[in-house]
Amino acid sequence: MNSASASPASSLGGIAADAASRRPRLAAGDAPVIRVRDLDFFYGSTQALWGVELDIRRGEVLALIGPSGCGKSTFLRTLNRMNDTIPGTRAEGHVLLDEVDVNSPDVDVVELRRRVGMVFQRPNPFPMSIYDNVAFGPRLHGRARRAELDELVERCLKGAALWDEVHDRLKASALALSGGQQQRLCIARALANEPEVLLLDEPASALDPNSTAKIEDLIFELRGRYTIVIVTHNMQQAARVSDRTAFFLKGRLVESGPTEEMFTNPTRLETEQYITGRFG
């Protein structure tokens, strides 16, 4: 180890330690809500994931890091079977949500996706009003009573720290919002399904620093109430928001562990090289 590379790693460790000290400890932090066992994934004949084994614990924020193209998004999308929408894909192995294999044929994909919500890299509000965007999921799932919806929309917009900015124009088009607001709206829209797990695929990478900070604050707020899996290519972000971090490389999970430990004291050489910026 040379001294030049020690300093970024230790500064990331510092960020992680500082963030950890400001977080309350999770009560039920140890019960896994999702268990991934021996997961392989194929795009046609190309294999993208190799034997991934990972537990995601209830209420934690898990960061997925790794160089571009290493399979982070692919992994995330196996958790709510979004890869089903790409023709010719195939998953082998087990993804157990509360001990039920999500890939078994009798699983109701609609209910799975309600319980495991997702927010994408680019903000993608629907071309309708702010209110209708948030109410979209609940309406699909048969919760159409007006008063109930009003209350839910308000709660989710508050939960996504957007209420104060939009409460007086709920009927305005969602496309008129700024990029950062749109992304928080997408988070509110996902929250409205009352999911247990929230998957965030680089949710801030298309946003300016100010909006990024707001999203990070929001993740901090949501921690504990939802299980959050966030893909990020930004080490500082991973250090700031996550409890645990998993490092992927070339379709394999290299290691996972508490964020503070990963950044101060990684066990694998590749991990250290990656977080000290040697590649990726």
């Binding site: 994408f120 071309p127 999921g137 799932h141 088009s173 399904n193």
Partner: protein
Amino acid sequence: MSGLRGGRPDYGGGIGAFLCAGAVAAVLLGVVLLFALLFMRGAAAFWPRPLTEWRLADGTVRLAEELDERPDGSIRARIGNREFYGLDFLIAGPEEVAARSRPADAVRIERTENGPFFGYLDQAGAETWRLRLPDGRPVELPAAQVLRVSYPNRLGWFGRVGAWFAGVGRFIVEEPRNANQEGGVWPALVGTSLLVILMSLLVVPFGVLAAVYLNEYARDTWFVRLVRVAVNNLAGVPSIVYGVFGLGFLIYGVGGAIDRAFFAADLPRPTFGAGGVLWAAVTMALLTVPVVVVATEEGLRAVPRERREAALALGATRWEMLRHVILPGARPGILTGAILAVSRAAGEVAPLMLTGVVGFARELPIDGDFPYLHLQERFMHLGFHIYAVGFQAPNVEAAEPLVYATAALLLALVLALNLTAIRLRARVRKRLEGR
């Protein structure tokens, strides 16, 4: 540094830019000329012209609506009174007209028969009107034949403008008379509108569903590719071929079967087994479905992939995603398709000639008699009317102004439809983008 200076002087223009700009100018000129010709000629048809008394060298006297002067100085004029002169029109050289004047009490009477009467009015009786020809010979006219009386030589400028507007109004709301050579085009306007509306009601849902199937459900197999190629090439099939299809398949095949099944009592008189507005609309829908499919597919493809994924990730089924997210986002594309379909259908005539258009229909396909909409009825159409008036009327020269007026009206109708649809699309776009 010095290499930067002294560049080519024609950097901003050159021969390429000149040629392109010239082509644009030529196209613009063509369009402007077309519009100007149609609208000016069309408008001139209703401009009240004075009646000039011509005393001809051979001693005869005529009242003439002077129309245009020829290069050799001779004047073409309408002289009316067809039952007496045999001719409506007269061309007289400058030496043939010995004297011209404008008698103030010259009267122009529009009648149900024989074209207009030019002369003088002595007494408008309840049964018969006593009139004088321009040369003073007394004649009589049954009062029932009189439609309208005017004294064009007494009209001031405002009077003429008023008469012009009244003429345009009558042209639009009146029925044609006298083998389409006089009167208005109301039935053709109604027929055109009904045809376009029926066609839109058929083509938009079918085109959109077909596009949704091709774009969202169908896998990319050779069959689907073949369908897509076929759809794209349907647009290039000559329109008369659609007319043949409409006649052979829809009218004789489908219509004949309907008649045998439901209207057997009326046979051999056909009900649906003959041309009618329904079959014409179905034929037109077939003709225009490719543009709706292509435009809708484009609109569907323009919806970002992330938006589809977001809907699915919220637990929407494929149909719910389509219904609530994709189709609303594709509305501008769908409207574009509808616009193109409507403007094509409003102007297309050839297939109609085989599927139910007529030069003169006794009854409208839509009226106050139950069931109000008579889909099996033959109908009139502005596009065909132009042809029928211009080339099938017994007196083509008399009908010529109406040809221009009808063409101008058809053009105005298509333009109005287009403008409405384009503004609608702009509004939808604006709402979608939230501005």
